[in-house]
């Protein structure tokens, strides 16, 4: 199920419709968290709670949404367009909501409230590199995984904040106080109690975040944010951003800028305008296929399943597993259950960008999906080859090889048998002749 929830303005109605559907997997777009415009609700968390202990994955597209004016603005610290953050809340939503409810009103005065609230729900793992870190991370231990895709960008923006001469110039309309780097803010998991003592914690609500979310009835095995090319182009003078008028050249330049900012901080300011378009990629272990039966087998009787695999591989029991069923290769290779896995993407492209720009924007998602599909095709080939090997034709090469091996071994055995029989006869003849 997919739904653009319009930032959760009508959360109650959303919940009623969503609960009526009873989905297994929900892809959400325009999900607010702690934004004024949506009453500072954690929309994804509330929906997950209403659905009943759903697992949540979230990726930030826009940070510092004050939300006072309709579409919302950006906080004074700006919205680093490449500051991609993705995290999964694997704890039961009820516990998460209870933990969130324990946060008193001062929590709203804390910076990056979404991260801070989430940090109260479990262990917060901060990382500066998304690549591979959030991929396939087991999330069963009630952990919250957070990752910034571009540490350089964050460092740069945070550095600017540190250099702010007057920490109290929040009096300027639209600007807030100077704050410490967000990496340190992540560490203030118990900010509700330490907010008064921590000198660098922001004292005013700097806005929430808007992003993508995935709700899953089944455990989320991995979560990752894919950086999408930005269709906004920067104005180098004041940092304001005009939307791409969608000439190909502009798009490619934006892509180049975007790619560059992923690996370095030099061009990060070029895309610090609207949303940082990302795609939220999750890996969910679902019983969508028969392979889940194997998964459950692996959990409850792993040794027997391994024996089954070994016996199948070594031909002790040929074709014991139905070949059309996915071949349980991952039994011995991965600690997590890879069978029946669903890789889901939640994507939200720019509304008023050109067609070409939007196609380019979706390109990383399609490439990632294509890689997955290629792996799928390979596995199909594997199964086909296994099927051929398991049921060889009468005069197939494998069959002839077997026959040759049989013949050679039979010859060896027969020659050895003849030699042994001859030796025995000679021995008997010798013993009889000598009269021993």
């Amino acid at each position: 199920m997919t739904w653009n929830v319009e930032r959760g303005y009508r959360l109650g109605s959303l919940i009623s419709e969503l609960v009526a559907e009873l989905p297994d997997l929900v892809f959400l777009q325009e999900v607010d968290c702690s934004c004024d415009r949506s009453f500072r609700n954690d929309v994804a968390g509330e929906l997950a709670l209403a659905l009943g202990d759903f697992h949540v994955a979230f990726a930030t597209e826009k940070d510092g949404v004050n939300g006072g004016g309709g579409n919302g603005g950006t906080s004074p610290r700006g919205a680093p367009a490449n500051a991609v953050a993705a995290f999964a809340v694997a704890a039961p939503a009820a516990a998460a909501a209870a933990a969130a409810a324990a946060v008193d009103s001062t929590a709203l005065a804390a910076p990056s409230s979404s991260f801070s609230q989430l940090s109260d729900r479990g262990t917060l793992v901060d990382s500066s590199n998304t690549e591979g870190l959030n991929h396939g991370v087991p999330a069963d231990d009630a952990s919250v995984i957070a990752a910034n895709d571009s540490k350089e960008v964050d460092d740069e923006s945070c550095e600017k904040r540190i250099e702010c001469p007057d920490p109290k110039r929040a009096a300027t309309p639209g600007e807030g106080p100077c704050v410490e780097p967000s990496e340190k803010l992540f560490e203030t998991s118990s900010f509700t109690s330490s907010a008064s003592s921590a000198p660098h914690v922001r004292l005013t609500h700097q806005g929430g975040v808007e992003g993508l979310a995935v709700l899953s009835r089944y455990p989320i095995r991995g979560v990752r944010a894919l950086q999408l090319p930005n269709t906004y182009k920067a104005s180098p003078s004041n940092g304001s951003h005009d939307k791409d008028l969608s000439s190909n050249g502009d798009t490619s330049r934006d892509e180049a800028s975007n790619n560059g900012s992923s690996s370095g901080s030099s061009s990060s300011s070029g895309s610090a305008g609207g949303k940082a378009r990302v795609a939220l990629r999750v890996e969910v272990a679902t019983p969508v296929s028969d392979a889940s039966l194997l998964c459950s087998c692996r959990v409850c009787r792993k040794e027997e399943a391994d024996k089954e695999l070994v016996s199948y591989l070594f031909g002790i029991r040929k074709c014991a597993l139905p070949i059309p069923r996915p071949f349980p290769i991952s039994f011995t290779s991965s600690p997590s259950c890879q069978l029946g896995l669903v890789v889901g993407y939640s994507v939200h492209l720019d509304a008023f960008a050109g067609r070409t720009a939007r196609v380019h924007q979706l390109q990383p998602v399609l490439e990632d999906a294509a890689i997955t599909v290629i792996g799928l095709i390979d596995s199909v080939k594997i199964r086909q080859s296994l099927r051929k090997l398991c049921k060889p034709a009468l005069f197939s090469r494998a069959h002839l090889t077997d026959m040759l091996l049989y013949f050679l071994i039979a010859c060896i055995y027969s020659s050895a048998l003849v030699r042994t029989f001859g030796c025995i006869c000679l021995a008997i003849f010798f013993f009889r002749a000598t009269g021993v």
């Binding site: 997919t2 653009n4 009623s16 050109g354 792996g375």
Partner: protein
């Protein structure tokens, strides 16, 4: 005979690599707000359609995306690309000025089968309807 056949499993490169590395064979689902809404007079706007606004003349924007972008992928959206049941349309004097299929729900058709699809009426909880599909795995995979 199987005793002699089975060791050859490990000499099939794909099997060897798969056993050693462990391959993913996931099902793919893509829920997206692609904002494919450039129809009617909106195609005259380069801001909304880019330089290729007329490349799919006679087709809806969703049809263009389905035939050009998703045709070579293994992803399929089961919903109608022309109907306006889940689209946002603005008509002026009967002429569609702006609108189109905005939300997509794609799945890997090689591994999943769509049993049913549903589109909400929308307009009450959000400015977008929600899309729902009931999927099951392909029997022969």
């Amino acid at each position: 005979m199987g005793v002699f056949v089975s060791p050859f499993f490990f000499f099939v490169p794909q099997v060897f690599e798969a056993v050693s590395a462990g391959q993913l064979r996931p099902h793919i689902i893509l829920g997206a707000d692609l904002n494919t809404h450039n129809h009617g007079i909106a195609r005259l706007s380069r801001k909304m359609s880019g330089n290729e606004g007329f490349s799919g003349f006679g087709k809806t924007e969703a049809q263009w995306w389905d035939e050009v972008v998703f045709a070579n992928t293994a992803l399929r959206d089961p919903f109608d690309k022309q109907g306006d049941s889940h689209n946002t349309w603005i008509h002026v004097a009967g002429i569609p000025v702006w609108g189109g299929k905005i939300d997509w729900l794609l799945y890997s058709e090689k591994t999943l089968v769509c049993d049913a699809s549903f589109i909400s009426q929308g307009g009450t909880s959000s400015d977008h309807p929600y899309l729902r599909v009931d999927l099951r795995s392909t029997p022969d995979v």
